[in-house]
Assembly symmetry: C2
Homo-oligomer: 181 residues x 2
Protein backbone atom coordinates (compact mmCIF):
# COMPACT_ATOMS: atom_id res chain seq x y z
CA UNK A 1 0.00 0.00 0.00
CA UNK A 2 1.16 3.47 -0.87
CA UNK A 3 0.91 4.99 2.53
CA UNK A 4 0.52 2.68 5.45
CA UNK A 5 -0.60 5.48 7.71
CA UNK A 6 -3.63 6.48 5.70
CA UNK A 7 -6.28 4.69 3.69
CA UNK A 8 -9.41 5.86 1.93
CA UNK A 9 -12.26 3.72 0.66
CA UNK A 10 -15.12 5.22 -1.34
CA UNK A 11 -18.84 4.52 -1.11
CA UNK A 12 -20.88 5.65 -4.08
CA UNK A 13 -24.59 5.66 -3.32
CA UNK A 14 -27.37 5.13 -5.86
CA UNK A 15 -25.69 4.01 -9.09
CA UNK A 16 -28.14 3.66 -11.98
CA UNK A 17 -27.35 1.60 -15.07
CA UNK A 18 -27.90 3.57 -18.24
CA UNK A 19 -27.61 6.97 -16.65
CA UNK A 20 -24.53 6.72 -14.42
CA UNK A 21 -22.14 4.32 -16.16
CA UNK A 22 -19.71 6.89 -17.42
CA UNK A 23 -19.79 9.10 -14.34
CA UNK A 24 -19.30 6.08 -12.06
CA UNK A 25 -16.44 4.84 -14.25
CA UNK A 26 -14.81 8.28 -14.00
CA UNK A 27 -15.30 8.10 -10.23
CA UNK A 28 -13.60 4.68 -10.06
CA UNK A 29 -10.66 5.80 -12.23
CA UNK A 30 -10.19 8.97 -10.20
CA UNK A 31 -10.39 7.07 -6.91
CA UNK A 32 -7.78 4.55 -8.07
CA UNK A 33 -5.38 7.08 -9.64
CA UNK A 34 -5.51 9.36 -6.60
CA UNK A 35 -4.78 6.73 -3.99
CA UNK A 36 -8.06 5.23 -2.75
CA UNK A 37 -7.95 1.49 -2.02
CA UNK A 38 -11.31 0.56 -3.48
CA UNK A 39 -14.89 1.59 -4.09
CA UNK A 40 -18.16 0.19 -2.81
CA UNK A 41 -21.32 1.14 -4.65
CA UNK A 42 -25.04 0.73 -4.08
CA UNK A 43 -28.01 1.14 -6.39
CA UNK A 44 -28.03 -1.16 -9.41
CA UNK A 45 -25.35 -3.84 -9.68
CA UNK A 46 -23.31 -3.17 -12.82
CA UNK A 47 -21.13 -5.98 -14.17
CA UNK A 48 -19.86 -3.71 -16.93
CA UNK A 49 -18.12 -1.28 -14.58
CA UNK A 50 -16.77 -4.07 -12.39
CA UNK A 51 -15.31 -5.81 -15.43
CA UNK A 52 -13.80 -2.67 -16.96
CA UNK A 53 -12.10 -1.77 -13.68
CA UNK A 54 -10.78 -5.33 -13.32
CA UNK A 55 -9.15 -4.87 -16.73
CA UNK A 56 -7.62 -1.56 -15.71
CA UNK A 57 -6.10 -3.15 -12.61
CA UNK A 58 -4.86 -6.16 -14.58
CA UNK A 59 -3.00 -3.90 -17.01
CA UNK A 60 -1.99 -1.01 -14.83
CA UNK A 61 -1.40 -2.73 -11.51
CA UNK A 62 -2.31 -2.22 -7.90
CA UNK A 63 -5.17 -3.86 -6.05
CA UNK A 64 -8.02 -1.39 -6.39
CA UNK A 65 -11.39 -3.14 -6.10
CA UNK A 66 -15.02 -2.39 -6.99
CA UNK A 67 -17.66 -4.06 -4.81
CA UNK A 68 -21.44 -3.89 -4.87
CA UNK A 69 -23.33 -3.40 -1.61
CA UNK A 70 -27.06 -3.96 -1.57
CA UNK A 71 -28.02 -1.75 1.32
CA UNK A 72 -25.63 1.15 1.88
CA UNK A 73 -26.81 2.35 5.30
CA UNK A 74 -26.36 -1.07 6.90
CA UNK A 75 -23.01 -1.45 5.16
CA UNK A 76 -21.80 1.94 6.37
CA UNK A 77 -22.77 1.28 10.00
CA UNK A 78 -21.10 -2.13 9.93
CA UNK A 79 -17.97 -0.70 8.26
CA UNK A 80 -17.63 1.87 11.04
CA UNK A 81 -18.11 -0.71 13.78
CA UNK A 82 -15.73 -3.24 12.32
CA UNK A 83 -12.91 -0.96 11.18
CA UNK A 84 -13.12 1.99 13.58
CA UNK A 85 -12.82 4.21 10.48
CA UNK A 86 -14.56 7.55 10.02
CA UNK A 87 -17.10 8.57 7.41
CA UNK A 88 -16.57 11.73 5.37
CA UNK A 89 -19.61 12.68 3.31
CA UNK A 90 -18.76 14.84 0.29
CA UNK A 91 -21.69 17.17 -0.33
CA UNK A 92 -22.18 20.69 -1.57
CA UNK A 93 -24.02 21.40 1.69
CA UNK A 94 -21.26 20.55 4.15
CA UNK A 95 -18.69 22.69 5.93
CA UNK A 96 -15.89 23.95 3.72
CA UNK A 97 -12.98 21.63 3.07
CA UNK A 98 -10.41 24.31 3.88
CA UNK A 99 -11.58 24.47 7.47
CA UNK A 100 -12.33 20.76 7.91
CA UNK A 101 -9.20 19.27 6.40
CA UNK A 102 -6.91 19.37 9.41
CA UNK A 103 -9.52 17.51 11.46
CA UNK A 104 -10.11 14.96 8.69
CA UNK A 105 -6.39 14.32 8.25
CA UNK A 106 -6.31 13.03 11.83
CA UNK A 107 -8.47 10.10 10.69
CA UNK A 108 -6.15 7.36 9.41
CA UNK A 109 -8.99 5.41 7.82
CA UNK A 110 -11.75 7.14 5.87
CA UNK A 111 -14.85 6.06 4.00
CA UNK A 112 -15.59 8.89 1.56
CA UNK A 113 -19.29 8.86 0.70
CA UNK A 114 -20.45 10.40 -2.57
CA UNK A 115 -24.01 10.41 -3.65
CA UNK A 116 -26.27 10.99 -6.52
CA UNK A 117 -28.56 13.96 -6.97
CA UNK A 118 -30.68 13.37 -3.86
CA UNK A 119 -28.98 11.99 -0.78
CA UNK A 120 -31.25 10.90 2.07
CA UNK A 121 -30.81 12.85 5.35
CA UNK A 122 -29.22 9.79 7.02
CA UNK A 123 -26.10 10.35 4.94
CA UNK A 124 -25.61 13.59 6.86
CA UNK A 125 -26.25 12.13 10.30
CA UNK A 126 -24.22 8.92 9.80
CA UNK A 127 -21.12 10.84 8.69
CA UNK A 128 -18.49 12.13 11.10
CA UNK A 129 -17.92 15.06 8.76
CA UNK A 130 -20.06 16.57 6.02
CA UNK A 131 -17.65 18.42 3.81
CA UNK A 132 -18.07 20.61 0.76
CA UNK A 133 -15.58 21.27 -1.99
CA UNK A 134 -17.03 24.65 -2.91
CA UNK A 135 -20.65 25.23 -1.92
CA UNK A 136 -21.68 25.21 -5.56
CA UNK A 137 -23.36 22.74 -7.91
CA UNK A 138 -20.55 20.32 -8.45
CA UNK A 139 -19.25 17.11 -9.88
CA UNK A 140 -18.79 14.38 -7.28
CA UNK A 141 -15.85 13.17 -9.37
CA UNK A 142 -14.13 16.53 -9.04
CA UNK A 143 -15.00 16.80 -5.34
CA UNK A 144 -13.55 13.35 -4.65
CA UNK A 145 -10.41 14.21 -6.64
CA UNK A 146 -9.74 17.39 -4.67
CA UNK A 147 -10.50 15.60 -1.41
CA UNK A 148 -8.07 12.73 -2.15
CA UNK A 149 -5.33 15.07 -3.36
CA UNK A 150 -5.57 17.15 -0.20
CA UNK A 151 -6.02 14.26 2.20
CA UNK A 152 -2.95 12.45 0.84
CA UNK A 153 -1.12 15.77 0.31
CA UNK A 154 -0.24 14.62 -3.18
CA UNK A 155 1.36 11.40 -1.92
CA UNK A 156 -0.45 9.44 -4.61
CA UNK A 157 2.22 10.88 -6.94
CA UNK A 158 4.81 8.65 -5.37
CA UNK A 159 2.56 5.62 -5.44
CA UNK A 160 3.65 2.48 -7.20
CA UNK A 161 1.02 0.25 -8.74
CA UNK A 162 2.39 -3.20 -8.01
CA UNK A 163 2.08 -5.80 -10.74
CA UNK A 164 1.51 -3.37 -13.62
CA UNK A 165 1.99 -4.73 -17.13
CA UNK A 166 2.17 -1.27 -18.58
CA UNK A 167 3.49 2.00 -17.27
CA UNK A 168 3.59 5.48 -18.74
CA UNK A 169 6.98 7.12 -18.88
CA UNK A 170 6.24 10.77 -18.07
CA UNK A 171 7.23 12.79 -21.10
CA UNK A 172 7.11 16.49 -21.87
CA UNK A 173 6.42 16.00 -25.55
CA UNK A 174 4.17 13.08 -26.16
CA UNK A 175 3.23 9.51 -25.45
CA UNK A 176 5.72 6.95 -24.24
CA UNK A 177 5.18 3.64 -22.52
CA UNK A 178 7.29 1.25 -20.58
CA UNK A 179 6.21 -2.29 -21.22
CA UNK A 180 6.85 -3.98 -17.91
CA UNK A 181 6.56 -7.56 -19.15
Amino acid sequence: MMNEKRAVFVLRVGHRIGRDERASTHLCLAARALGANGIYYSGQKDEGIEESMRKVVERWGGDFFVKYVKEWKGFLKKWKEETGGKVVHLTMYGEEIGGALERIRRFPLVLAVVGGAKMPPEAFSLAEVNVSVGSQPHSEIAALAVFLDRYFEGEWERKGFVGARLRVKPNKNGKSFIDVE
Copy 2:
Protein backbone atom coordinates in the same frame (compact mmCIF):
# COMPACT_ATOMS: atom_id res chain seq x y z
CA MET B 1 -13.19 37.99 -11.04
CA MET B 2 -11.97 35.92 -8.15
CA ASN B 3 -8.30 36.46 -8.63
CA GLU B 4 -7.19 39.17 -10.94
CA LYS B 5 -3.71 37.77 -11.19
CA ARG B 6 -4.69 34.39 -12.58
CA ALA B 7 -7.26 33.11 -15.01
CA VAL B 8 -7.93 29.69 -16.47
CA PHE B 9 -10.08 28.85 -19.46
CA VAL B 10 -10.78 25.26 -20.45
CA LEU B 11 -10.85 23.70 -23.92
CA ARG B 12 -12.58 20.34 -24.12
CA VAL B 13 -11.83 18.58 -27.40
CA GLY B 14 -14.11 16.10 -29.14
CA HIS B 15 -17.46 16.24 -27.34
CA ARG B 16 -19.95 13.66 -28.63
CA ILE B 17 -23.69 13.98 -28.06
CA GLY B 18 -25.15 10.83 -26.55
CA ARG B 19 -21.91 9.52 -25.15
CA ASP B 20 -20.33 12.54 -23.45
CA GLU B 21 -23.21 14.64 -22.13
CA ARG B 22 -22.84 13.72 -18.49
CA ALA B 23 -19.04 13.71 -18.43
CA SER B 24 -18.93 17.10 -20.19
CA THR B 25 -21.52 18.50 -17.78
CA HIS B 26 -19.41 17.28 -14.86
CA LEU B 27 -16.41 18.95 -16.49
CA CYS B 28 -18.29 22.26 -16.81
CA LEU B 29 -19.53 22.15 -13.20
CA ALA B 30 -16.06 21.30 -11.90
CA ALA B 31 -14.44 24.05 -13.99
CA ARG B 32 -16.93 26.63 -12.71
CA ALA B 33 -16.84 25.58 -9.05
CA LEU B 34 -13.05 25.47 -8.97
CA GLY B 35 -12.43 28.89 -10.44
CA ALA B 36 -12.17 28.61 -14.24
CA ASN B 37 -13.72 31.50 -16.19
CA GLY B 38 -15.32 29.48 -18.94
CA ILE B 39 -15.12 26.46 -21.19
CA TYR B 40 -14.76 26.13 -24.95
CA TYR B 41 -15.61 22.80 -26.51
CA SER B 42 -15.25 21.22 -29.92
CA GLY B 43 -16.81 18.11 -31.46
CA GLN B 44 -20.58 18.17 -31.67
CA LYS B 45 -22.44 21.33 -30.70
CA ASP B 46 -24.70 20.55 -27.74
CA GLU B 47 -27.49 23.00 -26.91
CA GLY B 48 -28.49 20.87 -23.91
CA ILE B 49 -25.25 21.42 -22.03
CA GLU B 50 -25.10 25.09 -22.96
CA GLU B 51 -28.63 25.61 -21.67
CA SER B 52 -28.14 23.64 -18.44
CA MET B 53 -24.98 25.60 -17.61
CA ARG B 54 -26.79 28.89 -18.38
CA LYS B 55 -29.37 27.86 -15.77
CA VAL B 56 -26.69 27.05 -13.21
CA VAL B 57 -25.11 30.48 -13.69
CA GLU B 58 -28.49 32.22 -13.55
CA ARG B 59 -29.26 30.61 -10.18
CA TRP B 60 -25.83 30.32 -8.61
CA GLY B 61 -24.13 33.41 -9.97
CA GLY B 62 -20.84 34.32 -11.57
CA ASP B 63 -20.17 34.69 -15.27
CA PHE B 64 -18.95 31.24 -16.30
CA PHE B 65 -19.59 30.62 -20.02
CA VAL B 66 -19.76 27.61 -22.33
CA LYS B 67 -18.84 28.25 -25.98
CA TYR B 68 -18.66 25.95 -28.96
CA VAL B 69 -15.64 26.13 -31.29
CA LYS B 70 -15.81 24.39 -34.61
CA GLU B 71 -12.14 23.77 -35.20
CA TRP B 72 -10.11 23.50 -32.02
CA LYS B 73 -6.58 23.69 -33.44
CA GLY B 74 -7.24 26.97 -35.22
CA PHE B 75 -9.01 28.29 -32.14
CA LEU B 76 -6.12 27.34 -29.88
CA LYS B 77 -3.49 28.99 -32.10
CA LYS B 78 -5.55 32.16 -32.37
CA TRP B 79 -6.21 32.19 -28.60
CA LYS B 80 -2.47 32.04 -27.92
CA GLU B 81 -1.69 34.81 -30.41
CA GLU B 82 -4.42 37.12 -29.22
CA THR B 83 -4.14 36.69 -25.48
CA GLY B 84 -0.49 35.77 -24.92
CA GLY B 85 -1.74 32.98 -22.66
CA LYS B 86 -0.16 29.55 -22.34
CA VAL B 87 -1.64 26.16 -23.13
CA VAL B 88 -1.51 23.38 -20.54
CA HIS B 89 -2.57 20.02 -21.93
CA LEU B 90 -3.82 17.61 -19.27
CA THR B 91 -2.89 14.10 -20.36
CA MET B 92 -1.88 10.89 -18.68
CA TYR B 93 1.25 10.94 -20.83
CA GLY B 94 2.69 14.27 -19.73
CA GLU B 95 5.27 15.19 -17.13
CA GLU B 96 4.09 14.89 -13.55
CA ILE B 97 2.13 17.78 -12.08
CA GLY B 98 4.25 17.87 -8.91
CA GLY B 99 7.34 18.84 -10.91
CA ALA B 100 5.58 21.06 -13.46
CA LEU B 101 3.38 23.11 -11.15
CA GLU B 102 5.82 25.82 -10.13
CA ARG B 103 6.54 26.54 -13.80
CA ILE B 104 2.83 26.55 -14.68
CA ARG B 105 1.97 28.88 -11.82
CA ARG B 106 4.17 31.51 -13.46
CA PHE B 107 1.64 31.65 -16.32
CA PRO B 108 -1.04 34.20 -15.35
CA LEU B 109 -3.37 33.09 -18.15
CA VAL B 110 -3.88 29.42 -18.97
CA LEU B 111 -5.94 27.45 -21.46
CA ALA B 112 -6.28 23.97 -19.95
CA VAL B 113 -6.88 21.45 -22.73
CA VAL B 114 -8.64 18.19 -21.93
CA GLY B 115 -9.39 15.60 -24.51
CA GLY B 116 -11.38 12.57 -25.21
CA ALA B 117 -9.98 9.07 -25.52
CA LYS B 118 -7.68 9.75 -28.46
CA MET B 119 -5.99 13.10 -28.67
CA PRO B 120 -4.20 13.91 -31.93
CA PRO B 121 -0.42 14.47 -31.64
CA GLU B 122 -0.86 18.21 -32.34
CA ALA B 123 -2.35 18.60 -28.87
CA PHE B 124 1.07 17.70 -27.49
CA SER B 125 3.07 19.98 -29.77
CA LEU B 126 0.75 23.00 -29.52
CA ALA B 127 0.86 22.98 -25.71
CA GLU B 128 3.47 24.80 -23.67
CA VAL B 129 3.22 22.05 -21.06
CA ASN B 130 1.90 18.51 -21.24
CA VAL B 131 1.06 17.59 -17.70
CA SER B 132 -0.16 14.42 -16.05
CA VAL B 133 -2.12 14.07 -12.83
CA GLY B 134 -0.88 10.54 -12.11
CA SER B 135 0.38 8.59 -15.10
CA GLN B 136 -2.58 6.24 -14.84
CA PRO B 137 -5.86 5.79 -16.70
CA HIS B 138 -7.79 8.72 -15.41
CA SER B 139 -10.84 10.89 -15.47
CA GLU B 140 -10.28 14.20 -17.20
CA ILE B 141 -12.79 15.67 -14.75
CA ALA B 142 -10.63 14.61 -11.80
CA ALA B 143 -7.42 15.73 -13.52
CA LEU B 144 -8.89 19.18 -14.22
CA ALA B 145 -10.14 19.43 -10.62
CA VAL B 146 -6.72 18.68 -9.13
CA PHE B 147 -5.05 21.00 -11.62
CA LEU B 148 -7.38 23.92 -10.79
CA ASP B 149 -7.13 23.37 -7.04
CA ARG B 150 -3.34 23.38 -7.19
CA TYR B 151 -3.01 26.21 -9.70
CA PHE B 152 -5.26 28.49 -7.65
CA GLU B 153 -3.88 27.07 -4.38
CA GLY B 154 -7.42 26.65 -3.14
CA GLU B 155 -8.26 30.31 -3.77
CA TRP B 156 -11.53 29.26 -5.39
CA GLU B 157 -12.70 28.72 -1.80
CA ARG B 158 -12.76 32.44 -1.23
CA LYS B 159 -14.50 33.12 -4.50
CA GLY B 160 -17.79 34.95 -4.61
CA PHE B 161 -20.24 34.18 -7.37
CA VAL B 162 -21.67 37.59 -8.15
CA GLY B 163 -25.38 37.81 -8.83
CA ALA B 164 -26.34 34.48 -7.25
CA ARG B 165 -30.02 33.96 -6.45
CA LEU B 166 -29.24 31.07 -4.16
CA ARG B 167 -26.34 30.30 -1.88
CA VAL B 168 -25.54 27.35 0.32
CA LYS B 169 -24.83 28.12 3.92
CA PRO B 170 -22.05 25.68 4.86
CA ASN B 171 -23.40 23.46 7.59
CA LYS B 172 -21.93 20.56 9.53
CA ASN B 173 -25.20 18.72 9.83
CA GLY B 174 -27.28 19.05 6.75
CA LYS B 175 -28.72 21.22 4.04
CA SER B 176 -29.28 24.92 4.47
CA PHE B 177 -29.74 27.63 1.90
CA ILE B 178 -29.61 31.35 1.87
CA ASP B 179 -32.13 32.79 -0.53
CA VAL B 180 -30.41 35.88 -1.84
CA GLU B 181 -33.46 37.44 -3.42
